[in-house]
């Protein structure tokens, strides 16, 4: 006869097994250009990697200049081979500071968002 405490531990371990298929909130893992970086030349594409696979229909990136004008091509995509990667092409960028705003939904429908900036030097 299993003691009540043992039953509880088994049940808790079982919960862990069932939960292995779960996803979670998608946190930013790393980005290119890197968060807060200064670049000598403008990038043609912005790429952000997340900790979870993403739902393409609800995942966006907006890049704006200091005046608040969008400078991305509005063609954001989730990478077909790596569903944790979101990327978007950028218009030609003059020197300045740019703000990146991302909003993503992981495949289990958890939504997260964030911002960061990068600089392009003269």
């Amino acid at each position: 006869m299993m003691k009540p405490r043992s039953k509880f531990l088994v049940a808790f371990a079982a919960c862990g097994l069932f939960a292995q298929g779960a996803s979670a909130h998608a946190f930013l893992d790393h980005a290119s250009p890197a968060v807060g970086s200064s670049l000598p030349k403008p990038p043609a594409v912005i790429r952000i990697w997340f900790t979870q696979e993403l739902e393409p229909a609800f995942s966006t990136i907006e890049v704006t200049d200091q005046a608040g004008k969008r400078v991305d091509a509005d063609d954001v995509k989730v990478d077909g081979a790596d569903r944790t990667q979101l990327y978007e092409t950028l218009k030609p960028l003059p020197p300045g500071t740019y703000k990146v705003s991302w909003r993503v939904v992981s495949v289990d429908t958890h939504a997260t968002q964030g911002t960061f900036s990068f600089d392009i030097g003269p």
Binding site: F12, S23, A24, H25, L28, V35, Q52, V105, D108, S117
Partner: protein, 322 residues
């Protein structure tokens, strides 16, 4: 039957109340607020702490105590939640035999008042209740009466500071205020006082630094650390002083006491772990240092399609599933 319809209508109304978008465990814009240990969290959530082990600082009599606590938080709607908690206590009075048993069962009904994403600011109202006679009253001195504690909890991230102060942006502060209203004036000849409780947690999120301010190369677990200091205080509002200034009843005066708890949290995708030292201060406290460790699970991430959802009202965009 009429009462049933009223209840159903009330439940339906709750599900359509205005709701901040759901992130469950503590998101406000860019900010992720971890579950702190001493200071109550300012957000409703589907989370579980199992266990929280506390080595209580020895009291003025030199008594030793270790607590093993369990709590579970469940969202009823996306912005109404409830927390259940209890603990098992090992008490070692100085010079006496050890005593063990259950502590007082507690509940906390919570309402997410607001979440301001641009300013990483959130507030919550709550009603905490300790249920008398649910723990070992005589042997461990647990409550023999119900205590109601209305409370306000808040959290504020510093991400809206100007870029010239960018290194301060990872800071966040959470806090809470509450007043205890015991339903009995005395228990075993000791006064049950109205207490004013306050707590604050000051956090510096390396996750926020790495992912929202500056990639400083913190990879792996280092990028998920949150050093913090928590400070709690309790102050008796009444029934503590006789006319001659001496303390009455249970010896609690009108001074303030509490703990200062420096520590660290590591928050992953599905769970977090935390450890803190407990440094007591004030007239009630002994002179030893205690400690606390906790494993905390994000049920909304572990069980996103079932237990991790509010009972009423799905929080995520359903279309994403279609």
């Amino acid at each position: 039957m009429r009462r049933y319809h009223q209840a159903a209508a009330f439940a339906a109304a709750l599900t359509i109340l205005p709701v901040a978008e759901a992130g469950a465990h503590g998101f406000a814009g860019d900010r992720f607020f971890p579950a702190t240990i001493q200071t109550d969290d300012p957000f409703v959530a589907d989370e579980m702490s199992l266990p929280t082990i506390t080595r209580v600082p020895p009291n003025v009599m030199g008594d030793q105590e270790v607590d093993f606590e369990f709590d579970i938080a469940k969202r009823i709607t996306p912005d109404i939640g409830i927390v259940f908690s209890d603990q098992w206590i090992y008490s070692q009075p100085k010079g006496g035999p050890a005593v063990t048993g259950m502590g007082t069962f507690k509940t906390d009904l919570q309402y997410q008042l607001f979440i301001n994403e641009p300013h990483e600011f959130m507030g919550m109202l709550g009603l905490a209740t300790t249920w008398g006679h649910t723990g070992r009253v005589q042997a461990l001195g647990q409550d023999d009466h119900v205590t109601l504690s209305p409370e306000f909890k808040w959290g504020k991230g510093m991400g809206d500071l100007p870029d010239s102060l960018k290194w301060l942006k990872p800071f966040a502060v959470t806090g809470n205020f509450s007043v205890d209203f015991p339903t009995r004036v005395n228990s075993n000849g000791s006064a049950n006082q109205n207490m004013f409780n306050a707590g604050v947690a000051i956090e510096y999120s390396l996750e926020y630094l790495q992912h929202h301010v500056k990639d400083v190369g913190l990879s792996g677990p280092l990028g998920r650390l949150i050093p913090l200091v928590e400070i709690t205080s309790s102050t008796a509002l009444n029934r503590g002083l006789n006319g001659d200034g001496s303390t009455a009843g249970n010896g609690i005066g009108m001074g303030t006491f509490g703990v200062i708890a420096p520590g660290i949290i590591w928050a992953g995708n599905y769970y977090q772990v935390a450890a803190e030292a407990l440094i007591p201060y004030g007239e009630q406290q002994g002179h030893g240092v205690g400690w606390m460790v906790q494993a905390h699970f994000f049920l909304d991430d572990l069980f996103p399609d079932s237990f991790g959802q509010p009972i009423f009202g799905h929080t995520a965009p359903r279309a994403a599933r279609e």
